[in-house]
């Protein structure tokens, strides 16, 4: 990374994340470089899937048990609680809401993405483990939707994150979301849903797009 880029990114670092010196309990000086000491600087690798019947079986298991990160990014997340009420009951499809990105496999981007939310979504997405899938709800993720000429919302989601299934509507009804889940299941079973590997392969391109809109980038090279 060039010096000018480094200085620009350092401008937004929190003060406790810059290099500083700490005085120990016996008066000795300890030089701390938090970015290198506390954060892992490796980039992720492409995890190739298995072949043949084993991968088919594992894909069937992954599709029948979809754990969704309970994160309502936009206004479409008001259609998610009705999904778990007795009328539409998404539990029988294997869909469950989990509170942490470590344990979930699906991220639902519901509606418009402001730039502020995009930074947090990137952080959550990169903390999820391979294999992971993204469902994009609503027309704001397809081409900007109602907020196409806004100064603060992004227009095309697939330039920032790899998307598996788009569900059109403003907002899609719970029946539409259930049919979207079925489409995601078919895609997983056919072996095409390798969004995590695509993200790792094209990380440079995604990062360029993300850094173009997120002007106060203060996150590590990859958010493990």
């Amino acid at each position: 990374m060039s010096d000018k880029q480094q200085n620009q990114e350092d401008k937004f670092l929190a003060p406790e994340n810059r290099k500083h010196t700490v005085i120990g309990p016996e008066g000795e000086e300890i030089h701390v470089d938090p970015l290198n000491d506390y954060f892992c600087q490796d980039l992720p690798k492409v995890e190739a899937p298995y072949k043949g019947v084993l991968e088919k079986f594992l894909n069937w298991a992954r599709s029948e048990s979809l754990w969704v990160l309970a994160y309502g990014t936009g206004c479409g997340s008001i259609e998610l609680p009705p999904l778990f009420s007795p009328r539409f009951d998404a539990y029988r499809f294997g869909v469950m809401m989990r509170p942490t990105p470590r344990q979930s496999g699906v991220l639902i981007i519901s509606g418009y993405l402001a730039v502020k939310t995009l930074k947090r979504v990137i952080r959550s997405y990169e903390q999820m483990q391979n294999p992971k899938y993204v469902i994009a709800l609503g027309s704001c993720t397809i081409n900007g939707g109602m907020y196409w000429d806004s100064y603060n919302t992004i227009n095309r989601l697939d330039h920032y994150l790899p998307v598996d299934v788009y569900i059109a509507g403003c907002m899609p009804r719970p029946e539409a979301i259930l049919s979207g889940f079925n489409k995601l299941k078919e895609r997983i079973k056919s072996g095409n849903a390798e969004g995590a590997n695509e993200y790792v392969e094209n990380l440079e391109w995604y990062r360029t797009n993300q850094k173009k809109v997120i002007k106060d980038w203060n996150m590590p090279p990859y958010n493990w």
Partner: protein, 303 residues
Amino acid sequence: MNIFLKIVFVLLGLFIVLNWGLIMTGIIRKIMARAGMRRGIKVYQPYINLIKNYSIRSQLTHGVMFYLGPVFRLSGGVGIFLFMPLIFGSDYWSNFSFTGDLILISYFMFFGMLGMALGAGEGGHPYSGIGISRGLAQFTAIEVPFSLAVIALAIQYHTLSISEIVAAQQGGIMHWTLFTNPLATIAAMLSFLGAMGHSPFNVVMAPQENPIGPPTEYHGTFLGVLQTNRAILHVVEAVLYMNLFFGGAGNWGVLILKSFLIYFWAVFVGMVFPRFRVDQSIPWLLKIPLVFGILAIVLLMIK
């Protein structure tokens, strides 16, 4: 008996108990869903969750201590199983039980929670410490009435071996500890609610409380091991209670039926009551079940 044959039967028993635990979890969740007027999950859904968790492709670790959480939990669950006589009167299915195994099993019940504390503290989550201290404090309060009930049983039957306690309960329903020592049974059954991790004592393990609880950073294979342990632990704890208070089992059918009904008691209470906060549950646990336990011991002393 030949040691190798014994090991084969132990592994076979573990396999049966694991499968029964996973299916029982599925059936219980289905019943809970139907009580809430939903269709409910598939009965074999816990298997699919396990396969999905074990087949994760990339995984993180936070250091060596991070592995200890699930490993200690699983060793706690399997440890209880190894020393538990399953079927009364059968030399094949008695695992490695010996005289005095009641104390060892009580130790193993607490052992798993301690391992969870070590692992979750290493997890890198800044508020895991709060979750762990809540969980351990509540679990200590749960163990107190159970220990009092165990002491009452030991005084009553003059033995610490589970096989002999089961043997003393044969000969009809009226010989069960449920009817010969009802106070100890009530104390133990009330502490059973807490040990199963259902409402009203599930502040540690509930998904909504997850971000501040122990299993936040555990994913993939770690979570698979935790889930496997949970399936085994539910069944063997129900079998322990069955052996101590409800007369033991003569064959596998009776074991499956009784363990289901005992576990159902925890679910039955859990469906109706909301969750306790820890500062409400510990005073309750140290009031009512403790009084029953102390009364049980005092009555036996008087006799």
